[in-house]
C-alpha cells in the first residue's frame, strides 16, 4: 500500500476530543499529528474575581476524571498563598483520598479504556460477553476506589468536603475500619489484575525520552514534592515554569511544553522511572511480574506502570488508614486562612502526570490563575512517538495502523478536556 490516509476524528475512549492525522505517500510520512479540538473553556480567565473559597471547587470541574487531583492541587496552591497549614490528619486524609483517585482513574484507564483493545472489543460493554469476570472485577475495583473517595470527600467526581484548609467532613472510625477490610479483601482482585495485564501482548515500541515527575525522599510522590527529570534536573515547585516552557501551536486548543529536549513525558511511566525505589514492595513485585524495571521506554507500558501504581495505592491506603486509626481520628474543622492576599503555587502528580496550579489573591478574590495540565505536557512527546511509530508500521493494513496509533494515544491516558485552558500567564 503506497498511500495511507488515517484520519481519526474524535479519538474514542479518551477524555475529551482529539484527532489523529496521518498522511503518507509511497511510504513517506507527509503529515503526522495530533490535534486537540476541544472547545476552549477559559478556566484561568473566569476564575478571576471569584472568592478563594470557590476556586478549588471550580477548578475541580476542569476534569471529571481527575477532579480530586485538580481540587487538591488548587486547594494547596491557595493554602500556600493565604497561609493555611494543614493538620497532620488533614494531610493524611488528602493522601488517602488521592490514592483513591489514582486507583479509580487507573482502573478506568487500564480496564475500561485500554483492555478492550487487547480483547478485540470496542469497549468494555461487549467485553461483558467476552469475559464477564474481568468486567465484574473492574467494576468491583472501581467501586472500591470510588467508595474510598466517598467516605472522605462525599464522592469521587468533584469531591465535596475537600476545601481550603482541609476537610469539612471527617470519616468515622467505623467507616475507615470497614474500608480497610475491603481494601485488604481487594488484594485478591489486585493480584488478578497484575496477572491479567502481565499476560497481555504489549506492542513493541521503544523511544527514549525525558521523564518528568514529582519526587520525594521518603515516599512515592503524588501530593507535593520536588520536580525531578530523568535528564538529571531538579527544581522546587515554585520554579515550575523552568520545566514547562509553554508554547502554542495552531492545531491545538492546548498549550505545549518542552524542557531539556524538544519534548518530555509525564504520567505513571515517568513516576515509575523516576521513583521506582519508593514503591511499595508489593508494587515492585507487580512490576517484576509485568517485566518492568526502570528505565522503561516503551510508551505502551504506561498502562503497565498504572497497574503497578494501583498495587502501590491499595497497599499504601491500608498503611495510611492504620496510621489514622492509630493516632485516633479527630473531628476537625478546616484550618482558617491567615491572610486574604498572596501568591501560591502547588503541584501534584495526578493520574496522568505532573500538574501545576498557581494563583494570586487580593482581598480574598482571585486575581491571577495558571494551571498546567499533564496531558498538555505530553503532546510533544506523543507527537514524537507517533512520528517514530508511523514509519515502523506504515506497511501494515490501514486499519491496523489506525488501531496502533489510537492505542498509542490511549496509552497516554490523555485527558483532553483538561488540557484546553492552559497557558503560561504572565503574572504581574
Amino acid at each position: 500500500m503506497s498511500t495511507v490516509n488515517v484520519n481519526v476524528h474524535h479519538v474514542t475512549r479518551v477524555e475529551g476530543h482529539g484527532n489523529i492525522v496521518l498522511n503518507a505517500k509511497n511510504g513517506n510520512i507527509e503529515e503526522c499529528r495530533f490535534d486537540v479540538v476541544e472547545a476552549p473553556r477559559l478556566f484561568e480567565g473566569f476564575v478571576r474575581g471569584r472568592p478563594y473559597t470557590e476556586i478549588n471547587h471550580i477548578t475541580s470541574r476542569i476534569c471529571g476524571i481527575c477532579s480530586v487531583g485538580h481540587s487538591t492541587t488548587s486547594a494547596m496552591a491557595t493554602e500556600k498563598a493565604l497561609g493555611a497549614e494543614l493538620t497532620e490528619q488533614g494531610t493524611l486524609l488528602r493522601k488517602l483520598l488521592f490514592h483513591g483517585e489514582i486507583l479509580d482513574s487507573h482502573v478506568l484507564h487500564t480496564y475500561y479504556l485500554v483492555a478492550p483493545d487487547f480483547f478485540g472489543a470496542g469497549s468494555v460493554i461487549p467485553l461483558i460477553a467476552i469475559n464477564r469476570a474481568v468486567v465484574e472485577r473492574a467494576l468491583r475495583l472501581k467501586k472500591l476506589a470510588g467508595d474510598l473517595c466517598a467516605i472522605i470527600a462525599g464522592r469521587h467526581t468533584h469531591p465535596v468536603s475537600l476545601v481550603v484548609g482541609g476537610f469539612t467532613h471527617t470519616p468515622k472510625e467505623q467507616e475507615l475500619r470497614e474500608m480497610r477490610k475491603r481494601l485488604v479483601a481487594g488484594r485478591e482482585d489486585m493480584d488478578a489484575s497484575v496477572e491479567l495485564f502481565a499476560s497481555l501482548d504489549w506492542p513493541q515500541f521503544e523511544r527514549e525520552t525525558e521523564y518528568i515527575s514529582l519526587t520525594k525522599d521518603d515516599e512515592y510522590a503524588f501530593v507535593d514534592g520536588r520536580i525531578k527529570t530523568s535528564d538529571g534536573f531538579e527544581y522546587p515547585v515554585k520554579e515550575y515554569k523552568k520545566v514547562t516552557n509553554e508554547y502554542m501551536v495552531p492545531n491545538s486548543t492546548a498549550k505545549w511544553t518542552k524542557h531539556n529536549r524538544d519534548e518530555y513525558m509525564v504520567g505513571a511511566l515517568a513516576r515509575f522511572n523516576n521513583n521506582f525505589d519508593q514503591l511499595h514492595p508489593k508494587a515492585k513485585e507487580a512490576a517484576a511480574a509485568l517485566g518492568m524495571e526502570p528505565m522503561v521506554t516503551n510508551t505502551f507500558l504506561n498502562s503497565g506502570a498504572q497497574v503497578v501504581e494501583m498495587v502501590h495505592c491499595l497497599e499504601d491506603s491500608i498503611r495510611i488508614i492504620d496510621e489514622l486509626l492509630e493516632k485516633g481520628i479527630q473531628q476537625e474543622d478546616p484550618v482558617p486562612v491567615t491572610t486574604k492576599d498572596g501568591e501560591g503555587w502547588a503541584s501534584c502528580d495526578v493520574p496522568r502526570g505532573i500538574l501545576f496550579h498557581h494563583y494570586k489573591y487580593e482581598d480574598g478574590l482571585c486575581t491571577e490563575a495558571n494551571c498546567i495540565i499533564p496531558t498538555n505536557q505530553n503532546y510533544g512527546n506523543l507527537t514524537a512517538d507517533m512520528r517514530k511509530l508511523a514509519p515502523q508500521i506504515i506497511d501494515q493494513p490501514q486499519e491496523k495502523i489506525r488501531l496502533m496509533l489510537e492505542m498509542l494515544v490511549r496509552a497516554y491516558d490523555p485527558c483532553i478536556s483538561c488540557s484546553t485552558h492552559l497557558l503560561d500567564v504572565k503574572f504581574v
Binding site: T12, G45, G154, R155, S161, M248, L422
Partner: protein
C-alpha cells in the same frame, strides 16, 4: 416489559465539559449493570469505539461554547426523539458560563491564549436549551447516579423524568443534618433544586447550587439570609452565579465584547 430486541437505543454526546457526568454513568454500571439490559448504548465516545447513528434518546453533556458546535447539536436534535441535557454544563451552562460574566470575553480569551487568542474560536457559553429544544434535563455537577437511573426508568415508563422542583433543604432536613446556615456557614440549599440527597451539606459544605435554582425562588430572602451568615455582597453574588451565571439577556452584551 422490555425484551432483548426492544432495548431502547441511546447515545451520549459531549460538548464543553469535564466529562464527569459521563464518568458518573460509567460508574452507575457498578451498581446498575442491568441498565444494559434495557438500553443499548450506540454511541459513547468516552467509553467505547462503536458508533451507531440510530438512537432514540440522546444524552448531551456539556455546554455550547462556540458557534461551530451548534451544527453537531442540530444533527443530534434531528435524530433523537428525546434530547436530555446531562449535567450542569448542559442544563444551566454550569461553571463554563462564568466567562459570560467576566467584564470582557475578549480580554478573558487573551488572558488565557495571549496574542494567539484568535486561533481559538469561542463565544459566550450557552446551555444546550439555548441552541436546541431539550425535552428533559438531569441536573447536577456531576449528575447523581441514582437520579440518572431513575430518569431512565421514568422515561421508559412514559412518565415525566421526575426531577424535583423543591429545594435541597427538604432532603437535608430528612437526613437530619445540622443546618449549616444556622451555624453561620453559607448554603444555597433553600433555593437550590433537590435530588442530590443534599450531598454537600451532608459532607459539611454549603450547597453551591449546581442543580440550578428552583422555580420562583425567594431570592431577596436568600440574600438576607446569606448576609446574616456573614457573606459580603461579592460573596453572595458569587454563590448565586457559581453554577447559575448564564442568563439569556447577557449573551448579547457578552457577544459584544468579543
Amino acid at each position: 416489559m422490555t425484551k432483548e430486541n426492544t432495548k431502547v437505543k441511546v447515545a451520549f454526546f459531549d460538548f464543553a465539559s469535564c466529562e464527569g457526568c459521563q464518568l458518573t454513568i460509567v460508574d452507575a454500571l457498578q451498581t446498575h449493570l442491568s441498565l444494559l439490559d434495557v438500553v443499548e448504548i450506540v454511541q459513547f465516545r468516552e467509553a467505547m469505539t462503536e458508533k451507531g447513528e440510530d438512537y432514540l434518546i440522546a444524552f448531551v453533556e456539556g455546554s455550547c461554547n462556540r458557534k461551530s458546535d451548534e451544527e453537531r447539536l442540530f444533527k443530534i436534535r434531528e435524530q433523537a426523539a428525546l434530547v436530555v441535557a446531562l449535567g450542569a454544563c448542559a442544563h444551566t451552562g454550569g461553571v463554563n458560563a462564568l466567562k459570560n460574566i467576566q467584564p470582557s470575553l475578549q480580554e478573558t480569551r487573551e488572558y488565557v491564549y495571549g496574542d494567539k487568542a484568535d486561533w481559538y474560536e469561542v463565544y459566550p457559553t450557552r446551555p444546550i436549551s439555548a441552541v436546541i429544544d431539550v425535552d428533559a434535563f438531569i441536573p447536577g455537577c456531576p449528575i447523581d447516579r441514582g437520579e440518572f437511573v431513575k430518569v431512565v426508568k421514568n422515561v421508559l415508563l412514559g412518565k415525566r423524568p421526575g426531577i424535583p422542583d423543591y429545594p435541597v433543604c427538604v432532603e437535608c432536613k430528612l437526613k437530619e443534618n445540622v443546618c449549616l446556615l444556622l451555624e453561620g456557614k453559607p448554603c444555597l440549599g433553600p433555593i437550590s433544586r433537590a435530588g442530590c440527597g443534599a450531598i454537600c451539606p451532608t459532607y459539611g459544605d454549603g450547597c453551591e447550587g449546581c442543580r440550578g435554582i428552583i422555580p420562583h425562588p425567594n431570592e431577596n430572602a436568600m440574600k438576607d439570609v446569606l448576609d446574616e451568615a456573614g457573606l459580603t455582597l461579592n460573596e453572595i453574588m458569587a454563590r448565586f452565579t457559581m453554577y447559575n451565571a448564564y442568563q439569556e439577556d447577557q449573551i448579547e452584551t457578552a457577544e459584544k465584547t468579543i
